[in-house]
Amino acid sequence: MGKVRADAGPFARRPDNSAFKQQRLPAWSPSLTPYTVLPVFYFLALVCVLLGVWLLITVQNTHQLKIDYTDAGACATCAEMRNDPTKAKMNCDCVINFNVPKTFQGDVFIYYGLINFHQNLRRYIKSRDDDQLVGRKNSLKSPSSYCEPFAYDENAVPIAPCGAVANSMFNDSFTLTYHPPAGAAVNVPLYRKGITWYTDKNVKFRNPSTNTTLQQAFQGTAQPPFWQKPVYELDLDHPNNNGFINDDLIVWMREAAFPNFKKLYGILNRAHTTFSYGLPEGNYSIAINYNFPVQYFQGRKEVVLSTVSWFGGQNHFLPIAYLVSGGLIFIVAIVLTAVYVKVGRSGKNMEE
């Protein structure tokens, strides 16, 4: 600053006359005038209310059914068995009947829901190895220390997939049956594949590359301690839905943000003529292979049947929030107008 410039002359040190240096850059100076603020308020109020109404109508046309089966009916025994350490490993099945009061039109999605299960604890979220899950050979055999204490089993064999997240994978399975008013019971067909994000299935989760069988690829690794079957045998019906790219595993590994959550289990296969319009009204039963213990943490388990709209599943929060916001903005707009007319317009506020 203030250094004498090389070009000496009568005005050698005169600052440049540029708009930037003289702070005269052309600029737009918006200000909050009544003519801009008030219309914006009314407009936003209108937009919010309209959106709210539209969303509400959309939500009203979606269907959702929740069946809490934690200790409901026949499952009570299973729940007790899971509570009893001596019978923890024993298989337990139960059946629950329910009624669909109104036909679920369109695509129907079946979710399992967990209440009070904290998938968002810091140490839990971190307890995984993305290097391993993307099929890196090194990480397969030497999992990240973040997976501790689920990195190696008691024989120091590396666990695949390692970590608390994979270890605690939800392992109940459901079979849904439709009991039409007349005729034999029909098994409700479900797609158990294609329930993940494309990127997860094709980028984030890869099996270790191998020329032989998947089993050999996972040789030298142990299954997570809570699992009943190894990772390469998760889906016996579909050989290419095993290993790290198993859909159920991928869905589980995308940790939920809140302690109450639901995850996609299957999608109704509408190829079957009975279900071509969706899920018809009537009586249903659901057979549950009851494995996942929730009593320890006062959790609940549920099955959720739902249809979706253009903005997702049955979600009452957004329409109501929009309606409330729209209403409030409208009230504020009226208050502002009143104040402006009473005070601002008359110029009283401008007096010194």
Partner: protein
């Protein structure tokens, strides 16, 4: 500089133990080395290439904020605690450290360059190897590289001319003279090598104008003073060579002792910022404790049930210990609430504002090619809060171009009665000085009777001008025959000597022992026997000369009161007449001096001279002893008359003062002048008006002006409060007859009792103390050298630029800085507290809401540039209106734009925003699925949604806060949003995931979340809910309690509309008036009346109405 907590580590502070007296023997290194004096090796640069990194890092980590982030970094390396990867802290920290280090390095480099030129080679010896006691040779146009005692020179009488521009900025040549005994050594190298004198002198100090020492040589004592010293930094001029003996070298030279400002000024915003940062720390710890307790309770109630899934170590199984660890984890993830980039950003803003001051063409004075300069870059926003201005008069309000305009000789006044100093003297023709071939052609005088008197050879008139030609310290320079140029240290002296020259008493040449005049064309040489020099206490100067007739005479000039006290009693009548004339002169705003002479008795003088020689060799109390001797001889003077010098007001001073007064800035003029002179200046500057009462002591009327004859005792403790109370009731305060020390005391007094921002403005060395004391010191680069400028924080060439500096630059700086800080705190709270709310849902496990990369980049990439652009370019009101409505300056003085309350408001807004940002997506995601049925309420989608909402909300907010959208603002705001999405998608891309799978686990999240309509509905709702209340509040505020700025901007709109309406027909003006309604200006019944007025009338009417 950067962080006020910085511990000063100054290598120079480790000065050698207190030296009481310095002994230096010439040509005797062995003797001198016993004292370990500093050698001439100066390392002004703090760093070398290799030591830069360690030393700079060490210094930076001494700053509290940086050390804090280092601790955080270490905490993050502990796996049990680490809630964030180490890079989230290290990236911003490295950035901040790098910016600071680059700044330090360039500062250091520039400093280094400045000092390079001192290293000159002399006789195969580098300057840096010169030691104390060495005899060295200096040549013409060389810089002196140590403090040197002049021994001999090429010029007669051992004279030597120097330029001291590097030292004090004064450009006039100064003369130094060697002792006669040493000047005989000449250039004889053998003799010089044998020279073995010993100098005993004061220890190193920083007084540039003072030196006391004694030379012991060949059993004789010779007194040494500043006149015999060549200081480091001077340049030898008009002198072929000279020899000198090194007394101080290296860091002990006076120049180096003066290096560096002693006082570090900080603004009130700085202090407030530190307090607030401490509060935020407290808040951070409170949040940490709340969440830690929450974690303990949660672990006991809920967490222990999860042990089956989370088989943690035994160590962590204790809930209390888990809570303890959680505390540290939360300190890490909530650390962004203490903004790491705050101090750096503030520095950047201030630097930008300083450059705008330097670049301002409207503060550039073309006549002297002087732009304004912000010499301190840390005080800009305080320029917008000034309440008191303390101004010097001479050279600050006035031009300090002195013109001899009147005189009173032996009871007769000469010179035209000009009445007002603003009027030119065009009434009577100028006096013709053509009788005098040596006259100065620029000199004007309007009373020919004085020339008549000269021509009649009236002895007292002659004596009057002889005195003026003899009694001064001016150096003549005769470039060619008859073309005389005077080098005067003070413009007053120059004016008086020039006047004497034109009236036929031409001062032509000076040697240390003689003064040669041309009296009416005849050369006359006077022997100069003693100079009794001027200082602020003596307020007079005398010379003792022997004229060619052999008579001894003492000529004295000085302040009237001082001279009158020392007059022969017989002069009483003349004294009264002269005194009347003096009052008359002062009443016209002229600067006056009284002149007197005395014939000296030969014997008495001899005796006095002996005492003088003895006293001047004394080492102790030399000043006092000399003063007493001077006092002794300056008694019984014969009054000759008085001179009156006119000092014209600078351009635009009255307008500037009235404008600053309208801005509610109190202006106190502190001057050494007489009461009447000061009052007159007061009137001519619009500070005083005829309708105002004058108050001299204790009259407590309202709207009065105080003119205080300020005496030293008024500044004693018991009176200062009263003085201050009285002074503050007054609109204008003029303090006259104040010494430089008293100026500083007055400033200190106001600073201490009023808690107001003070600004001192001055141009001379006597203003330096005041400039250093005030919060802001402004130096006028004028006639009196550069000392004031060198001590100042801002400098420019004309007083009128002060208006622009305060009302435009200061106001903008303050406005920008306040808006910047408000937004900065808001942004960080909104960003960080989301983690706090999430704590309640994730078992207080210190899980972050956002992606780690987002946390790393949010402050430094996504949101830094728009707010910086706002802080650099924003203008709430443009410069014309800033000057037109001075009351817009008021909010700064009242500290309205950023204070603790404002801080609470903006942090509260941040807290609310974070609450909305968290809970609206929470509500929406709780039961949401994607439109293809797969789930979306996972942690990663939630993170992307909140992060996107946050970036959009804070961008909209900065848009609302920006009053002045230049292209740069547009570019930064839109650019930041674009960069956010670009980086988001890049980090969520397949490619980067395939390279570093575990560092970028968010692969695909952005794509899968942001292609959902529901996510955009959430973002829209969040933005609307966060922003609309702010808009509503601001609108209500402008409606119900408009600030000065709001009113002004409405006025500006009206003015624009009226200008617009003038260009339209009557038909259209009806429309314009309708649109005026939208500003709430007029009621409908008045509109009809308005319509009947012509457009000029409308404006007048509106102005009255407003």
């Amino acid at each position: 500089m950067l962080v006020p907590w910085r511990g000063f580590w100054n290598p120079r502070s480790k000065a050698p133990g207190q030296e009481e007296e310095r002994h230096v023997k010439a040509n005797d290194r062995d003797y001198n080395e016993r004292f370990t004096y500093a050698d001439n090796h100066i390392k002004t640069a703090k760093y070398t290439f290799y030591t830069f990194l360690p030393i700079n890092l060490f210094e930076q980590f001494q700053r509290f904020a940086n050390a804090y982030f280092l601790v955080l970094l270490i905490l993050q390396l502990i796996p049990e605690i680490s809630s964030l990867s180490w890079f989230t802290t290290i990236v911003p920290l490295v950035l901040v450290l790098t910016i600071t280090a680059v700044k330090d390095a360039t500062d250091d480099y520039v400093k280094d360059i400045c000092c390079l030129y001192f290293f000159y080679r002399i006789q195969k010896e580098k300057w840096m190897n010169v030691r104390v006691g060495d005899i060295i040779k200096l040549e013409n146009n060389q810089f002196v590289a140590a403090d040197v005692l002049l021994l001999s020179s090429s010029e007669p009488y051992g004279l030597c001319y120097i330029e001291t521009a590097e030292l004090d900025g004064e450009t006039n040549l100064k003369v130094r003279q060697a002792l006669t005994v040493t000047s005989d050594l000449g250039a004889d190298v053998a003799k010089l090598a044998d020279f073995n004198g010993e100098v005993v002198c004061e220890p190193p100090n920083n007084k540039l104008d003072k030196f006391i020492g004694t030379l012991y040589w060949k059993d004789n004592k010779y007194s040494l003073d500043n006149e015999k010293m060549l200081l480091r930094g001077c340049m030898l001029r008009n002198t072929e060579w000279c020899f000198g003996m090194v007394i101080f070298a290296g860091l002990q030279t006076k120049l180096m002792q003066n290096c560096g400002r002693t006082k570090f000024k900080r603004t009130s915003i700085d202090r407030l910022m530190n307090t607030l940062v401490l509060w935020i720390f407290g808040f951070l710890i409170c949040m940490g404790i709340i969440l830690a307790i929450g974690n303990t309770i949660w672990e006991q109630r809920v967490g222990r049930n999860f042990w089956a899934y989370l088989l943690w170590d035994e160590l962590l199984s204790s809930a209390v210990f888990s809570g303890f660890l959680t505390f540290w984890s939360y300190i890490i993830i909530l650390n962004t609430v203490v903004p790491i980039s705050l101090y750096v950003s503030v520095e950047v803003l201030r630097l930008g504002h300083s450059y705008f001051i330097n670049w301002d063409r409207k503060m550039y004075y073309s006549r002297k090619d002087t732009p304004a300069e912000a010499r301190t870059t840390t005080l800009n926003e305080e320029l917008g809060q000034v309440e008191f201005i303390f101004s010097d008069k001479t050279g600050t309000l006035t031009q300090n171009i002195m013109v001899f305009s009147k005189c009173s000789i032996n009871g007769n006044t000469y010179g035209e009665n000009i009445g007002s100093i603003q009027m030119g003297h065009n009434k009577t023709p100028c006096v013709d000085f053509s009788f005098n071939p040596l006259m100065d052609r620029k000199f004007r005088f309007h009373d020919s009777s004085l020339v008549e008197a000269i021509k009649l050879e009236e002895p007292l008139v002659q004596e009057f001008f002889r005195l003026l030609a003899l009694c001064h310290t001016v150096m003549p320079e005769e470039r060619s025959e008859g073309e005389l140029v005077y080098q005067a240290q003070s413009p007053d002296e120059g004016a008086l000597v020039t006047a004497a020259r034109n009236f036929g008493f031409v001062f032509r040449a000076r040697t240390p022992e003689t003064i040669t005049l041309y009296e009416m064309g005849q050369p006359v040489t006077y022997q100069l026997l003693a100079i009794l020099d001027f200082n602020n206490v003596r307020k007079r100067m005398s010379v003792i000369v022997r004229n060619p007739k052999g008579q001894l005479k003492l000529y004295s000039k000085g302040a009237d009161t001082i001279i009158f006290d020392r007059l022969e009693p017989a002069n009483e009548e003349l004294m009264y007449t002269t005194s009347e004339h003096l009052n008359e002169f002062a009443g016209e705003g002229l600067r006056t001096l009284a002149l007197a002479y005395k014939d000296l008795d030969e014997d008495m003088f001899d005796e006095w001279m002996k005492k003088l020689l003895f006293a001047s060799a004394a080492l102790e109390n030399r000043e006092e002893r000399l003063g007493a001797l001077y006092e002794e001889v300056e008694q019984g003077l014969m009054l000759l008359g008085a001179t009156a010098i006119e000092d014209k007001l600078q351009e635009g001073v009255p307008e500037t003062i009235s404008c600053l007064t309208l801005a509610n800035i109190k202006i106190w003029v502190l001057t050494g002048d007489k009461l009447e002179t000061a009052m007159n200046i007061g009137y001519s500057c619009n500070m005083l008006r005829d309708d105002m009462n004058e108050l001299f002591t204790d009259n407590m009327a309202f709207r009065i002006h105080l003119i205080s004859h300020l005496q030293a005792h008024a500044l004693e403790a018991d009176l200062e409060q009263i003085l201050l109370d009285v002074a503050c009731l007054c609109k204008t305060v003029i303090c006259c007859r104040v010494t430089p020390l008293q100026k500083a005391q007055v400033v200190e007094l106001v600073k201490r009792h009023k808690r107001a921002v003070t600004l001192a403005i001055g141009d001379g060395a006597n203003d330096v103390s005041m400039i250093k004391t005030a919060h802001i010191g402004v130096g006028i680069s004028g006639q009196e050298g550069m000392q004031a400028v060198l001590a100042s924080d801002y400098s420019f060439a004309q007083f009128r630029y002060l208006q622009r500096l305060l009302l435009v630059h200061g106001r903008w700086s303050y406005h920008r800085m306040c808006n910047f800080l408000c937004y900065f705190f808001y942004k960080n709270f909104a960003f960080t507290l989301v983690h706090f709310w999430f704590g309640f849902l994730c078992g207080f496990s210190a899980q972050t809401v956002y992606d780690q990369w987002f946390i790393t980049l949010f402050n430094i990439v996504y949101t830094s540039l728009p707010v910086l652009a706002m802080g650099v370019f924003d203008q709430d009101v443009n410069e014309q209106y800033s000057l037109r409505y001075p009351n817009l300056y008021r909010p700064g003085q009242l500290n309205l734009l950023f204070n603790k309350r404002k801080f609470f408001t903006c942090t509260l807004q941040g807290v609310c925003t974070s609450f909305i940002l968290f809970f609206i997506p929470y509500g929406a995601f709780l039961c949401a699925v994607r439109d293809d049925g797969s789930h979306i309420s996972d942690q990663q989608s939630f993170a992307v949604t909140i992060a996107t909402s946050l970036v959009i909300v804070v961008s909209v907010q900065i848009g609302l806060d920006t009053n002045y959208w230049t292209a740069v603002n547009h570019f930064f705001i839109w650019g930041s949003l674009a960069v956010y999405f670009a980086i988001l998608f890049a980090m969520n891309s397949d490619g980067i995931f395939r390279i570093f799978p575990s560092q970028f686990p968010f692969v695909g999240t952005a794509r899968n979340a942001l292609n959902q309509k529901s996510v955009w509905l959430v973002i829209l709702l969040t933005t609307v809910v966060c922003i609309m209340p702010v808009v509503a509040m601001r609108f209500l505020k402008t409606d119900l309690h408009p600030t000065q700025t709001d009113k002004a901007s409405i006025r500006i709109k009206i003015t624009k509309l009226l200008v617009f309406s003038e260009q339209w027909t009557d038909h259209h003006s009806a429309q314009t008036l309708t649109s005026l309604n939208m500003f709430g200006i007029m009621r409908s019944r008045k509109s009809n009346r308005l319509l009947r007025l012509n457009s000029g009338g409308v404006e007048k009417y509106l102005c009255r109405f407003l």
